[in-house]
């Protein structure tokens, strides 16, 4: 398959790209997403200092307003925090953590949800009932409550937060995959595949799954945005990531105490970055929903 064929109108990727291209708002949001993703991956090469290397920090540089210059000639375009850390560098590192946690937990939840959703739809009967009962139970509780409960019990930690985020997300994927797969299951091509003697796992993964992808992509985007927001909220409350893994939420929480005394930049800039990140992912996700399935409905 050539690259050109991959982007053709009738291919999934082609539909996605042309769909985004027709909405200027979505194009801007998609470009912002790509830039932020790049900044997160290339982080250490873009930042003027390593914000967590204590040797380069100088307490005399603490709480400098944006645009001021350090003793060493380094310009702090976004100011410094209470420990004399360059805010721009700290934010890029925070972005790495936030995006990493959000995307990783989103992908794992997607895999777990897809496997369980496909299993429920294909085998039906008791397995279906059991899985869907658990899904209904999970979706009955709000995300933040389950995450709060779990972290209140487990305590802080990177992997605990990721675990909590996966636990609250997988059910959404499972339900979407199941309903998409139930429709596909009764179509002629599946019957043809069964008649040809193709094994069940191959039918599920090779034939049914690709046709369930559109809703998965949309939900995946929106869930990543949700996960980033939820992680920031938990970290802000002080029960999410520990101080050794500073995400954007934690940066905002640190600056919160200084907000009242006028040092706004320490919490406002990380907040703006977090907002831009979540907002642009949501805009792209919302656009994809309109493109891929006009009948999916809005929530």
């Amino acid at each position: 398959m050539t690259v050109r064929a991959l982007f053709a109108e009738d291919m999934l990727l082609g539909r996605l790209v042309t769909g985004i291209g027709r909405s200027p708002k979505a194009v801007v949001a998609a470009v912002v997403c790509v830039i932020l993703l790049f900044a997160a991956i290339a982080g250490p090469y873009l930042t003027p200092q390593d914000p967590y290397d204590l040797a380069v920090l100088d307490i005399l540089d603490a709480k400098l307003p944006p645009g001021s210059e350090s003793m060493g000639g380094l310009v702090y375009w976004l100011g410094t925090d209470g420990q004399g850390r360059d805010m721009f560098s700290a934010m890029i590192y925070g972005l790495r953590t936030s995006l990493g946690v959000g995307v990783f937990s989103g992908i794992v939840a997607l895999i777990v949800g897809t496997v369980l959703g496909l299993t429920a739809a294909y085998f039906g009967g008791r397995i279906d009932t059991l899985i869907m009962r658990v899904v209904d139970l999970m979706l009955g509780f709000p995300t933040i409550l389950v995450a709060l409960m779990l972290l209140a019990l487990l305590g802080q930690g990177l992997w605990k937060v990721i675990f909590a985020l996966i636990l609250v997300q997988w059910a959404t994927f499972a339900r979407a995959v199941r309903s998409a797969a139930l429709v596909e299951k009764n179509k002629d091509y599946v019957e043809a595949a069964v008649t040809l003697g193709i094994s069940t796992p191959r039918i599920l993964i090779g034939h049914i799954l690709p046709n369930c992808l559109p809703p998965l992509i949309v939900i995946g985007m929106l869930q990543v945005a949700n996960a980033i927001s939820a992680e920031a909220t938990l970290s802000f409350l002080g029960i999410g990531l520990p101080i050794t893994e500073p995400s954007l939420g934690l940066l905002i929480a640190n600056g919160y105490q200084l907000l009242m005394s006028g040092e706004y930049w320490i919490s406002v800039y990380p907040g703006v970055l977090l907002l831009v990140l979540v907002f642009s992912i949501n805009i792209v996700g919302d656009r994809l929903r309109e493109v891929l399935n006009p009948r999916l409905g809005e929530r």
Binding site: F141, M149, A152, F236, L237, L259, G271, L275, F279, I283
Partner: protein, 324 residues
């Protein structure tokens, strides 16, 4: 119908029991509260006495049965910090949380329904585009950050509204609430806006979808043919139809607002159960955390149960589907 209600009720009880076990076992992973509460220079005898008085020296299963037995009698232990029954602490602060949640819900409805109507009646217009983008913005804005900005703008810069506490609490018909004093109302405005913003986006989207689905239906065409004014069609006939899904979702969202109040209460130092939870987690005040989780889960299961039963009354297919 009776069978359905009983089945649902038993399921709710089972969920509550499972939650109680998980909460109890999990809470032991947090740390050793004896370490927190006994001063480092206490003698060995003093330590042993405190541990015994709190029942921390008994085996885990024995502690659990004592806990379960007491819980059934409405006793969820005494707070280590306040040295008072934890359930009393929760119920003392519950009214503040309910007041905040309900005000937030009212805000979301009185703003969200008109905006949703506006955007649903003229789909793809400039107004629609602005409102819909605004609603994405609304649920992208992390609640805690939006609260901070409200404080910064309205309390720090403009100095119009207070940013912390509940203010003066008035009494009316025996109910104590901030709603009855001017000072209390001033304190309530910012937290209520903060809590409502997320739900506002949801209400806008639900209303818009409802309007767009209802407008092309035959009964609307018929009403037009009859010569009814557009105002009457929208506000009487269409409106009735979009209220049904709206009420269902609002019922469920009330629980999620109770949970989200944790964030709002922490930012605005609102003395409700959410702030109590966060404070108790920080102080390792185990009985209060347990009591909060059980009370909020019970509330939640109760709301879900009521919504399910109401829904099955409106739509019998739910009940028949559940019986299969």
């Amino acid at each position: 119908m009776t069978v359905f209600v009983i089945r649902r009720f038993l399921q709710s009880i089972a969920v509550l029991a499972v939650t109680a076990v998980i909460v109890f076992i999990g809470i032991y992973a947090i740390g050793d509260p004896a370490e927190m509460l006994i001063s480092p220079d206490a003698s060995q005898a003093e330590r042993a006495q405190v541990v015994a008085s709190l029942g921390l020296d008994k085996p885990l299963w024995e502690q659990f049965f004592t806990f379960a037995w007491n819980a059934l009698h409405g006793d969820l232990g005494r707070s280590f910090v306040f040295n008072r029954p934890s359930i009393a602490l929760i119920f003392e602060r519950l009214p503040a949380t309910l007041e905040l949640t309900l005000t937030g819900l009212v805000f979301a409805l009185i703003l969200g329904i008109p905006l949703g109507l506006l955007s649903g009646l003229k789909p793809n217009s400039a107004t629609d585009e602005v409102i819909m983008t605004g609603s994405i913005f609304g649920f992208s804005l992390p609640s805690f950050w939006q609260g901070m900005m409200l404080i910064m703008i309205f309390s720090v810069w403009l100095g119009w509204l207070p940013s912390t506490g509940r203010g003066q609490v008035g009494e009316f018909l025996g109910i104590h609430s901030s709603l009855f004093t001017l000072d209390g109302l001033k304190h309530l405005i910012l937290p209520a806006i903060n809590l409502s913003l997320f739900k506002l986006s949801l209400v806008i989207r639900l209303t818009r979808t409802g309007v767009r689905e209802t407008m092309p239906l035959d009964f609307v065409k018929f009403a037009r043919a009859k010569g009814l004014s557009e105002k009457r069609i929208v506000f009487v006939h269409v409106f009735k139809n979009i209220l049904i899904p709206l009420i269902t979702v609002i019922g469920l969202e009330l629980g999620s607002m109770l949970a989200f109040a944790v964030v709002t209460e922490t930012i605005f130092a609102w003395p409700g159960i959410g702030k109590l939870l966060i404070d108790s987690i920080m102080r390792l005040d185990r009985p209060v955390v347990v009591a909060y989780l059980l009370v909020i889960v019970s509330l939640f299961i109760f709301i879900n149960f009521v919504v399910d039963v109401l829904y099955s009354l409106v739509d019998p297919r739910v009940r028949l589907g559940g019986a299969q």
